[in-house]
């Protein structure tokens, strides 16, 4: 297993894992790390610029931006991870079935996905949250609804091409049943792009959550959530109060960046073709033909 450290040693991977580690730290030790309560207003301390007492300054109600940024890691990652996990758990088996079995049900499900995806994702999210109410869990559910087709389609596309691959035929010759082929052979191979997508989706979920909160269709005050914090500072930005929006925005950037980087790392780690190129430079098959035309 000497190749794992290698792909984990790239600068991208190092930064990605460092950011992930940092976020985990923030989640676990938020109460220890934050000097103030994330939800308690201090009317007299409103809109103070960054200082020794308030590293990131305070917002209009006098809440400490630094403490809120730290606590928001919990909320934002909770929403994102939960929504992506739900989407993954529903989308993957669904994709497996509609990829493997062609039939009315499969095409109906695909048409349903078409409709869901015909709507601009953000707008649909906005409407759905409006319908269901601005609760943390509702935001997570809406994101899960939006992401499920993504995973299902991805897996389906993989399965569609995988099922035509000779190793599936070979498995069938060995007496494998449909279920065994689906879960033993196809799932394992189709999961890789899905894993990359998991990471990317978490990043997207963070952005979407923040965007929804920004326009007031996400979580509610005073929940510490990055998008909401950017939003609460947005008004003052034009008047020169930059710190309220700047820091939570940066937190979003780093958090999303982290998952983007990790996505790349996963891709590198799990891709057998890449490794294959590295391992066997000399193979005794004649390149250019995988068999006669």
């Amino acid at each position: 297993m000497s190749r794992i450290p290698h792909s984990l040693r790239s600068p991208a991977a190092v930064i990605g894992f460092a950011l992930l580690f940092l976020q985990i730290l923030l989640i676990l030790f938020a109460p220890l790390l934050s000097p103030y309560s994330p939800v308690e207003a201090d009317a007299l301390a409103s809109l103070q610029p960054p200082s020794a007492a308030h590293w990131f300054g305070t917002d209009i109600t006098g809440m400490d931006v630094f403490s809120r940024v730290i606590y928001a890691t919990r909320i934002n990652l909770l929403i994102s991870v939960v929504s992506v996990a739900v989407a993954f758990l529903i989308g993957v088996p669904l994709g497996l079935f509609i990829g493997y079995y062609k039939g009315i049900v499969s095409s109906l499900v695909m048409r349903l996905f078409d409709f869901i995806q015909a709507f601009p994702i953000f707008v649909l999210g906005m409407a759905l949250v409006a319908v269901m109410g601005q609760e943390i869990w509702n935001v997570a559910i809406v994101l899960a609804i939006l992401f499920t087709p993504v995973f299902a389609r991805l897996i389906r596309a993989e399965v569609l091409s995988l099922r035509e691959r000779p190793f599936v035929a070979a498995a069938r010759c060995s007496g494998a049943s449909d279920l065994h082929i689906m879960f033993g052979h196809l799932l394992l191979n189709a999961l890789l792009p899905a894993m990359v997508q998991v990471s990317i989706s978490i990043g997207m979920a963070i952005l979407l959550t923040a965007g929804l909160s920004f326009i007031g269709a996400g979580v509610r005050m005073p929940v510490p959530e990055w998008g909401l914090m950017v939003s609460s500072g947005a008004q003052q930005m034009i008047l020169g109060v930059w710190w309220v929006s700047l820091f939570p925005g940066l937190a979003i950037v780093f958090s999303v960046l982290c998952f983007a980087l990790l996505g790349d790392v996963i891709r590198d780690l799990l891709d057998p073709t890449k490794t294959r190129r590295a391992v066997s430079t000399s193979t005794d098959i004649i390149p250019g033909i995988g068999g006669p035309l």
């Binding site: 190793f167 010759c173 060995s174 007496g175 005794d284 098959i285």
Partner: protein, 552 residues
């Protein structure tokens, strides 16, 4: 060996190519000395990875980015290439030395008509009007044997067959009238009959235009038939350069001898087991398989009323061009495909009408070795799991027993036991083929279908696999259906031969009979296209010249 007393078109002096990142690995090319004379066809042979393509790319100064010429020099008509300006270098490529690559379809721009692509190349070298360029492109296409060239010039690459695409690439290389053509495995992957036609055409055209050719190939047969001289490459070196006839008669180097030996057939006809021919193991009658065609309503009769018998412990070889329906028959037999009509009796039992559940017990007796070695193995499974999958599915054994069987099987296919823990991508193609066989044989079947076990393999590996299959057949008393392109391996393996053309069996009989006295014109054509290396006495220039009348 004597020098030809005139100015060489190309001269390569002690060329050395290395990676720019310093490694302990040996250089990719070293000590290459080569002279190419006018009107000469020089063959370059060697196994995969020998550096043949790199040599061609070095000549064009198109080495991969991480490789560099660290020593030596290449001269084109005594001009050192390293001194060329970028513009001159561009003019040199294609203008003086043109390349014909492998797998022609991929060398053509998929979204531009072939005529325009020829025009593009021509106008990169000569100032001609678009109109005239087009006219020249069309006439050249006609000359390289494209029928109806005027219309075909408007075709996109995907609308051409492999052979036609290869002709287009040849036309492309010739259109700006270069002095030298580098043909790098130009006919690799084409059907033998097509390959011969294309090579004949290439040699004929270059002769006519006074162009010298470097013919890079794996196939000693091609060298034997077309080249004046031959260079044998191995690990970045030229082992020997000789006159072809000399070389075939008495190769100097040990390696060259090995190569020649492996390329030859080894018809040690093995003993036919004493015939209980009255009860065949497999009996196929009137098998038909129809696929839907490209356009709705069309149909392709991939297998069209095929009948044959295979007695126990005997091997039937199924030969024929690509697309003739060989694989389809195999897949119908293991019920990966449902045949449209006809009967298949296995050990007296009709199997086409069995339900999948009833057929499953039979699967352990009928197995198939798949055509592509890599893609037929699940890339995420270890060899151990790959090999014992049939056992898990079909037999109830403890895992210890299974592992024992796996190890036994690996031994049988000559793989070390530690391979059980490897993933397919960690194996070479030859090893992957062996794993495929182990997997098919582990359930101790009575009947195995080998789908092209030897194609796409390097010369020596192919010989090893043939030996292995032969060994297994005699050890396990297998009956086999042996699907192949490679007539050479048929000679070594089969008792009987069936020749297929367009879904039908056109000729069937014992191996010796069919090969010695082919009756069907198609069989004759197929045999004629085989470029053997036995009994060659000099370059023919054209296979057609030698076997006049058998190829039209």
């Amino acid at each position: 060996m004597q020098e030809v007393p005139s100015v060489p078109l190309l001269r390569i002096d002690s060329l050395r190519v290395e990676s720019i990142t310093p490694t302990s690995a040996p250089p990719f090319l070293q000590g290459i000395n080569l002279r190419l004379m006018p009107n000469e066809i020089l063959g370059v042979v060697g196994e995969t990875g020998a550096g043949k393509s790199l040599l061609a790319r070095a000549i064009l100064d198109l080495l991969p980015e991480d490789l560099r010429v660290t020593e030596g020099e290449i001269f084109s008509r005594e001009r050192p290439l390293s001194r060329l300006s970028p513009a001159e270098r561009r003019a040199f490529r294609g203008g003086e030395v043109a390349l014909i690559g492998t797998n022609a379809k991929e060398l053509l721009d998929p979204v531009v008509t072939v005529g325009s692509q020829l025009v593009r190349v021509l106008r990169s070298h000569h100032r001609v009007s678009r109109r005239e360029a087009w006219a020249r492109a069309v006439s050249l296409l006609a000359e390289v044997g494209i029928v109806n060239a005027k219309e075909r010039a408007h075709a996109y690459p995907h609308e051409l067959s492999g052979g036609m695409a290869q002709r287009v690439v040849i036309a492309m290389s010739l259109i700006s009238e270069p002095k030298v053509v580098l043909a790098d495995d130009a006919t690799l992957g084409l059907d033998a009959t097509v390959s011969v036609q294309v090579l004949d055409m290439l040699v004929e055209r270059t002769r006519k235009m006074g162009v010298s050719v470097i013919l890079i190939t794996h196939d000693l047969g091609i060298v034997a038939h077309y080249c004046n001289r031959v260079a044998v490459m191995r690990s970045g070196r030229i082992e020997e350069i000789r006159d072809t006839v000399d070389f075939l008669a008495r190769p100097d180097h040990r390696y060259s001898q090995d190569l020649l030996e492996a390329a030859k057939a080894r018809p040690i006809p093995w003993v036919r087991s004493i015939g209980k021919a009255d009860t065949p193991l497999l009996e196929v009658s009137n098998l038909v398989k129809i696929f839907p065609g490209k356009r709705p309503g069309e149909e392709v009769r991939a297998v069209d009323g095929v009948s044959f018998l295979i007695p126990p412990s005997e091997t039937l070889a199924l030969v024929g061009e690509s697309g003739s329906g060989k694989t389809t028959i195999g897949q119908c037999l293991v019920r990966l495909l449902q045949s449209d009509s006809g009967r298949v009796l296995f050990d007296g039992q009709e199997i086409t009408t069995l339900s999948e559940a009833r057929f499953r017990p039979l699967r352990r007796r009928i197995q198939m070795v798949f055509q592509e070695p890599y893609v037929a193995l699940n890339p995420r499974w270890r060899v151990r799991h790959l090999v014992d999958e049939p056992l898990r599915m079909l037999d109830k054994l403890t895992s210890a027993e299974r592992l024992k069987r796996v190890h036994g099987m690996l031994e049988l296919v000559r793989l070390p036991a530690r391979y059980a823990e490897l993933y397919p991508y960690e194996l070479t193609a030859g090893e992957q083929k062996r794993v495929g066989m182990a997997r098919a044989l582990i359930s101790r079947p009575d009947f195995v279908i080998f789908d092209e076990p030897t194609t796409a393999l390097d010369i020596r590996v192919r010989a090893q696999i043939i030996d292995l299959v032969r060994q297994l057949q005699s050890d396990m008393q297998l009956s086999a259906l042996f699907i192949t392109h490679d007539l050479n391996s048929v000679r070594s393996l089969a008792h009987n031969v069936a020749v297929m053309n367009r879904g039908r069996i056109v000729e069937m009989g014992s191996m010796e009979e069919v090969f010695a006295r082919p009756k069907d014109p198609y069989t004759q054509k197929l045999l004629a296209a085989e470029l053997g290396i036995e009994g060659i006495h000099g370059p023919q220039g054209s296979a057609a010249a030698k076997k006049k009348g058998t190829v039209d």
